[in-house]
Amino acid sequence: MMGWNRNIYRSFIIISFVGVIILLLFGIGQTLSYLTTGADRSSMLHLALHKERVYLPKLKWKDTINPGRPIEKQTLQDIEQDYLNAWYIRNAAYQTNTPKGIEDYYTKSARKHIFASLVSNKEKNIAIHGTTTTHNIALDFYSADGQLAVITDTGVKEYQRVYRDHELVLETKLQSDYQVLLMLEDGFWRIRHMVKDKNHTSDPVTQTNRSIKVKENKIFVEDKEYQIKGINYYPQKTPWDMFGDDFDMNVIAADFDIIKNTGLNTIRIFIPYKAFGKAKVKTEKLEKLKQVLDKAETKNLKVIVTLFDFYGDYSVLDWTLTHRHAEQIVSAFTDHNAILAWDIKNEPNLDFDTRGKENVLAWLKEMTHQIKQFDPNHLITIGWSDTISAGLLQNEVDLISFHYYLDIDAFSDAYTIMNTEIKKPIVLQEFGLSSNRGFWSPFGPSEKEQANYYKQFQEIIKQNNIHYLSWTLYDFDEVPSTVVGKLPWRKHKQKHFGFIDRDGNKKPAFEYINK
């Protein structure tokens, strides 16, 4: 016993000794590394600052002719970036009432005005969520030594949402002119003076001759009434990843033939926000999208393109990034004949609870305005997930789209209510039934019941003359967890909505795909 105890004591002493040494060395290491931070000369001069662009409102240099001296391209970019950063930092500061980063972008005498303002807002518990969406800059002056610049920023579109005690007080859109004097200090172009000059009323949206029009509750394509008979489309092998590495134009072309041969005239496809490159849209993705749209045009199919799939951050400070995303995609296809409508977001009302209804709606509303600017030729819609939400923002969109997966017997009533309230074309953008009878769902609908469901639905559609797109062409092998979550029975259900099964055989419902 004595021997054991001694060994225990010994090992305890050795281990604690080693432990103390480790702690000591770690402590010395930490102290040394702390002492060496900040001594880096490049960081002192802010030369190698990693500046990721997080704020991308539409910015146009109207002119750079000034009496001082011609400006270099590099300086122009520096001024542009630092000026926008100044706005971003200020917007962020007003949102949280903390002056973080302000000193980088405002000179000592300018920043105290912001600090005073923040203190006042903090006292009253006011938070202002704001962003700017447009800047038009003219260079008024650039000094001979390249240290001072004066710019005029006209038509700055500012969006602000004001909260007091976490309650929304006001949502406002302002358009103002600013004259700004900037100075180069410590490698930053800092704002020295900023004077708001004028308020504008917002400018009207330019209208162009579009081949697709909406008159009352009817859609016209090249002056002929257009009845949407369509289907939501993903290739069988690559659901929710249509433009990924396994993109195969031949497969898609063959599917388009199947769709066209059934007599359908429209498809709906999805553009994932992140996979397309967020604010910097990848050209190869645009190229793939163009191939799909070109193919659809040759096959005489119209396409509803759903943007912002899997996007979930509606915060005001993220707006400008999404605007640039939309701009790059939408303006690339302004004149494309295959596109019927831009669907801004799939089922955004499902984000109301987690992201805040006013956040989501404000984002959608601004996005409709943005897309109309970039592309006045095509229609705009939002794919609401139910009939109750369908009335939201109805003045902003051209088509009202809703999805219906509830009891078929309740559909007619819901539709009639909606139809009396809304005076725009209504599109049943998604509906369908999963033939998921099996291990995960022993009492689920069989393929026959699915066929029956479509038969019934087609009758209702015919009676009411409804624009429709069913969900979906194929049964899928795999469903990503991002779509319906990880639960196997949910995934299982999502795999069996198709008209054609995994092996390429037409299910009984196929007969009712169009009639």
Binding site: V162, M194, V195
Partner: protein, 411 residues
């Protein structure tokens, strides 16, 4: 006919009454809505003065005022709970620019408008001056820019077309001019004069005078110049130093170039080898120094201010210091003593003269020995371990003289 007229009049009256009553009801309905009127008459305020916006409501509700100005937005409450009189907070009231405001009721906005705050002309003017670049070159082509930002005491830029007096002094020139500010600033380019020196500047707006600013005017590019040499004697003794001295280097306007301008002297000897030395100017003159050659040679020297100016070509010759020297073989020819080496007056040559000996065996150079003289003598030792016994040839070079010894037998 009469009846008809009566009917028409009745009908007309009837419709009139109807329209009036309809109009009345709509008007009445409108009055039910909340609305507000601004009682404050002024729309333009001077910065720093108190700004009070007084509204009149048709039905009393709790209100707050959203204000948006140059540096951001705020929401303020009425001065007292039961009024709709708002005092714009001081930090906002003292900043120039348009202030937009929205009067908010409990649920909707009641009134929108804007006021303009202008810079305060009654306070003391503050001046901020920026001069750059801080140094320019003479000649009237280069310039510096004087920028003045006049502000009021609340740091608001004064309105455009504010008169700004600027002036500068250079040598006996003193100039003043009046500028009109535009885009927040007043600015002028100050061009250099022909002379180098220092320009002093100032500016003035109403009673406020700036401090003194200075800009250095450096001489312009140097013009071509002359060089001369200076040496103690013309002998190629490898010991004395020859100096090359430039004339006073000036720019085209006669300004002596800045001290420290680098002058490069490039020397070409008779074999075409280039040597070089350099010096920097003091009071326009640069001196380059180089050791005399240790053999008879003729040098051609040219000086450059690289990329800007060059000199004439100077030719100087060096004469041989001795015609011959003595070589003594001792210790079975293994100890070779050279010297005494004597200079031009038969004095011992100063220590450090290089003597070079090449050793050949069977017409193959097997070694080169180099030593410097001490007291006019150089001694080479050919040790047995390195030089086996046999016949050797020697070639000895010193001060441009070469002597050959064939078939020296080492034991």
């Amino acid at each position: 006919m009469k009846l008809n007229k009566k009917h028409i009049i009745l009908l007309f009256l009837g419709t009139l009454i109807c329209t009036i009553s309809i109009a009345f009801t709509t008007v009445l309905k409108k009055q039910d809505e909340n609305s507000a009127v601004l009682l404050t008459k002024e729309r333009v305020f001077e910065a720093g003065n108190p700004i009070v916006l007084d509204f009149k409501l048709n039905t009393p509700v709790r209100t707050q005022l959203f204000i948006h100005s140059s540096f951001g937005s705020n929401v303020i409450d009425p001065d007292t709970d039961d009024t709709t009189r708002f005092t714009i907070p001081e930090f906002m009231a003292k900043k120039k620019g348009v202030v937009s405001y929205t009067l908010l009721g409990e649920t909707e906005s009641l009134y929108e408008g804007e006021i303009r705050i202008i810079s305060n002309t009654k306070t003391k003017v503050h001046l901020e001056s920026y001069i750059g670049p801080p140094s320019i070159i003479a000649g009237g082509e280069d310039y510096t820019m004087q920028i003045v930002i006049p502000t009021d005491s609340f740091d608001n830029p004064l309105r455009d077309s504010t008169a700004v007096l600027i002036g500068h002094q250079f040598l006996d020139i003193e100039k003043e001019s009046i500028l009109q500010s535009k885009d927040m600033i007043a600015w002028a380019n100050i061009f250099s004069y022909d002379q180098s020196g220092r320009i002093l500047m100032f500016s003035k707006v109403s009673e406020t005078v700036s401090k003194e600013f200075s800009v250095e005017v450096y001489p312009s590019l140097p013009e071509n110049f002359e060089i001369r040499s200076n040496r103690k004697h013309a002998y190629a003794d490898g010991n004395q130093i020859t100096e090359f001295i430039t004339s006073i280097i000036k720019d085209e306007h006669g300004n002596i170039v800045s001290d420290g301008s680098l002058v490069k002297f490039v020397i070409k000897d008779t074999k075409g080898v280039l040597l070089h030395t350099q010096g920097s100017t003091i009071n326009g003159q640069a001196v380059g120094k180089i050791l005399h050659p240790d053999h008879k040679d003729t040098w051609q020297i040219k000086a450059y201010v690289p990329g800007m100016a060059e000199s004439n070509i100077l030719t100087i010759a060096y004469t041989q210091v001795l015609d011959d020297f003595e070589v003594k073989f001792d210790n079975d020819n293994r100890e070779i003593t050279i010297g005494p080496l004597v200079s031009f007056m038969e004095q011992l040559i100063p220590n450090g003269t290089i003597v070079k000996m090449d050793v050949f065996k069977d017409n193959q150079k097997i070694d080169t020995k180099i030593k410097t003289s001490s007291d006019g003598l150089v001694r080479f030792l050919l040790q047995e371990g390195f030089y086996v016994s046999g016949n050797y040839d020697m070639q000895i070079k010193a001060l441009g003289i070469q002597k050959e010894f064939k078939n020296i037998i080492l034991q």
